[in-house]
């Protein structure tokens, strides 16, 4: 499977009055053609910053300290603004988190959907509007033809997110970045939007980077998952490997705090708060909150240990000399299910690419 996008050793700082915040610390991942990669992590873990750097839409106080973002072999971080404008909304587009504020309140939605076509394709207004209508139909806006002239405030939240998605896919992008596209929606609409995205992915053959903090959503859409914590990826692998064979204690904590049908009584939470990235810890950033932390966790950053050809985790627990630890009970239950669920599912994922 060819890599369409490769992020290597990306580091990004934010200049603030208090000093430099090291928001992204040595992040690497790749996106294969046609796959969906989910980036999971709590607020402030650097998910959004990572994808914004791909789009070249970083805040003005952000500074790329190092690394490359290669798209078809070209480093996007080195491209001049003019060339980035041609890529944005054309080859790589983005779906934003909040549908209530992402649409221009004073422009009819038809025009907003057609806009990327007018910018990027040498298309006349009429054809662009026609294509916009097709896409609005595709994302499931009822009576799209009559509603092209309506304004955003005349649509519901779910419909607005469909319109935002329509804008993102109208140019049939090769990479679609979805930054928590379902977070602002209620659960039933969430499911519809996820289904829609899966269907669209099949139709326009795009690769998706899906950012979320909701593991339930990840299970529904992702082929592969990268877990981020304090500006670093700490574990990545196929979706079943992350869900049923997690290795990093932080991933355990995340999965453990996800409510399931079997959850009885109190919901588990990870104690403590993420570290201050003004001055990131020397070792594993999760160590202070980690009940399984070893001495070395506070002293040295763990490298990635290979779990399988597709699964890596950055925790000293995987070192041959590390003591054997028992993961939480809920995780053990998940692990037990791996054998029955995974082999056939992993096969499916491979087949897709």
């Amino acid at each position: 499977m060819a890599n369409i996008l490769e992020v290597k050793n990306l580091s990004i700082d934010f200049k603030t009055y208090a000093g430099d915040v090291h928001a992204i610390r040595d992040v690497s991942f790749e996106l294969k053609k046609g796959e969906t990669l989910a980036i999971v992590g709590e607020s402030g873990s650097g998910k959004s910053v990572t994808v914004r750097s791909i789009m070249g839409l970083l805040a003005s106080n952000a500074q790329v300290k190092g690394g490359t973002v290669k798209y078809h072999g070209d480093d996007l971080l080195k491209k001049p603004e003019k060339e980035m404008n041609q890529i944005r909304g054309n080859e790589i587009s983005m779906i934003f988190q909040d549908p209530m504020t992402s649409l221009d309140p004073t422009m009819p939605i038809g025009k907003q959907v057609a806009e990327p076509l007018l910018i990027h394709k040498a298309m006349n207004k009429e054809d662009a509007m026609k294509r916009a209508l097709t896409v609005l139909d595709l994302v499931g806006i009822p009576n799209a033809k009559e509603r092209m002239k309506d304004y955003p405030h005349q649509f519901s939240g779910g419909q607005r997110q469909r319109i935002v998605i329509a804008i993102a896919i109208v140019d049939y992008p090769q990479v679609l970045i979805a930054d928590e596209p379902t977070t602002a929606l209620d659960v039933t609409v969430q499911a519809q939007i996820i289904d829609l995205m899966k269907e669209l992915q099949r139709k326009i053959e795009t690769s998706i980077i899906f950012i979320t903090h909701d593991l339930g959503v990840v299970a529904g859409i992702a082929d592969r998952v990268a877990v981020m914590y304090a500006g670093k990826i700490i574990e990545y692998g196929l979706v079943d490997e992350i869900f049923y064979q997690p290795k990093h204690p932080y991933t355990w904590g995340l999965l453990n705090s996800m409510p399931t049908l079997d959850t009885a009584g109190k919901l588990e939470a990870i104690p403590g708060t993420p570290p201050d990235l003004l001055d990131p810890p020397k070792g594993d950033a999760f160590a202070p909150r980690n009940p399984y932390a070893l001495q070395i966790d506070t002293e040295e950053m763990p490298p990635f240990f290979e779990v399988s050809k597709t699964h890596y985790a950055a925790t000293w627990l995987l070192h041959p000399d590390a003591p054997q630890v028992e993961p939480p009970a809920a995780i053990k239950t998940l692990m037990a299910k791996y054998d029955e669920v995974a082999p056939q599912k992993v096969g499916q994922t491979d087949g897709k690419g």
Partner: protein
């Protein structure tokens, strides 16, 4: 929309009536009489003249006569200007005032929007600093001070423009400049604040993500959205221009309506005071109506709620 307009016009007429009534009685409270050398007039002469102008009747009756006349479109005749009809007097003096007012308005708000937008786009740079400095200066300096300064430097010292009087477009430039500075500064300040807000909003981010360049984003998405609140201050600004023009017209000796207003108050020229007050109020309310309609055109959300209200 038609229904809305009719409603607004009914309110307008009602408001005008109230303005006319209140002004009428307040005007009668002013000391003095319309006659220039009152102390030399004998009691008989006064009586005859009062009778001639209908000033001997009880105030309520005078009020009634005036209102009835008004309903017939009769604003009465001026005391001071050789018994000319007030309406004709206003019309003949209207052109210069309207011209400099409109020029100042267009120049001021247009440049203000531009300046504010540029300041917002270049936020926290020297451009922003310079724009903010001049905005504050423009708001702080009264237009009559500016008028005198312009007159002295540009007209007297450099002889670029006529010093005063009303003779073609060139003599309208200095008063226009003097009047335009305050609305310019105000619009610029408003526009900057609003635009900074708009530029950090999600839909601007989305516009950039579509591949719009910085200027395309501003032109297509930021400008219109930033102008919504700016439109609201255009009404009050027009009022300021109208009242402010009294002094500026005087400084440049422009035979405008403002100058006439001042004169008519000084001489207790009752019909002219009344006529001008009603006329000013009318102009003001029309401006507010236009602003409201403009508001709906710029912001579709307002348009809809209007539809809903009817």
């Amino acid at each position: 929309m038609t229904k809305y307009l009719i409603k607004r016009i009914c309110y307008l007429v009602l408001t005008l009536f109230i303005v006319a009534s209140v002004t009428f009685f307040m005007m009668k409270l002013m000391p003095g009489t319309p006659y220039t050398n009152q102390e030399k007039l004998s009691a008989d002469q006064l009586r005859i003249m009062n009778e001639q102008y209908g000033l001997n009747k009880p105030i309520l009756e005078q009020y009634w006569i005036y209102i009835v006349g008004l309903l017939h479109g009769d604003f009465g005749t001026s005391f001071q200007f050789n018994n000319q009809p007030v309406l004709g007097l206003i019309m003949s003096r209207l052109a210069p005032s309207l011209q400099i007012g409109a020029q100042a308005m267009i120049l001021g708000s247009g440049l203000g929007i531009l300046l504010g937008a540029v300041a917002a786009i270049r936020k926290n740079t020297w451009v922003d600093g310079v724009a903010t400095f001049f905005s504050i200066l423009g708001i702080s300096i009264p237009n009559f001070v500016l008028a005198v300064l312009l007159q002295f430097f540009l007209a007297f010292k450099l002889q670029m423009f006529p010093i005063a009087l009303w003779d073609g477009f060139s003599s309208s430039i200095l008063p226009t400049l003097a009047l335009a500075v305050a609305p310019l500064a105000n619009t610029a300040r408003f526009m900057r604040t609003e635009m900074v807000d708009v530029l950090s909003s999600d839909y601007i981010e989305l516009a950039k993500a579509k591949g719009n360049s910085r200027w395309q984003t501003v032109a297509k998405h930021a400008l219109r959205n930033s102008m919504i609140p700016v439109v609201t201050i255009i009404g009050p600004m027009a009022v300021n221009l109208m009242t402010g023009s009294l002094v500026v017209e005087n400084i440049f000796s422009i035979p405008g309506i403002g100058e006439q207003f001042v004169k008519s108050i000084m001489t207790n020229d009752y019909p002219t005071i009344m006529g001008l007050t009603i006329f000013y109020s009318f102009l003001l309310m029309v401006i507010i109506l236009v602003v409201d309609i403009l508001y709906g055109i710029i912001d579709p959300r307002i348009r809809l709620s209007e539809k809903g209200a009817n």
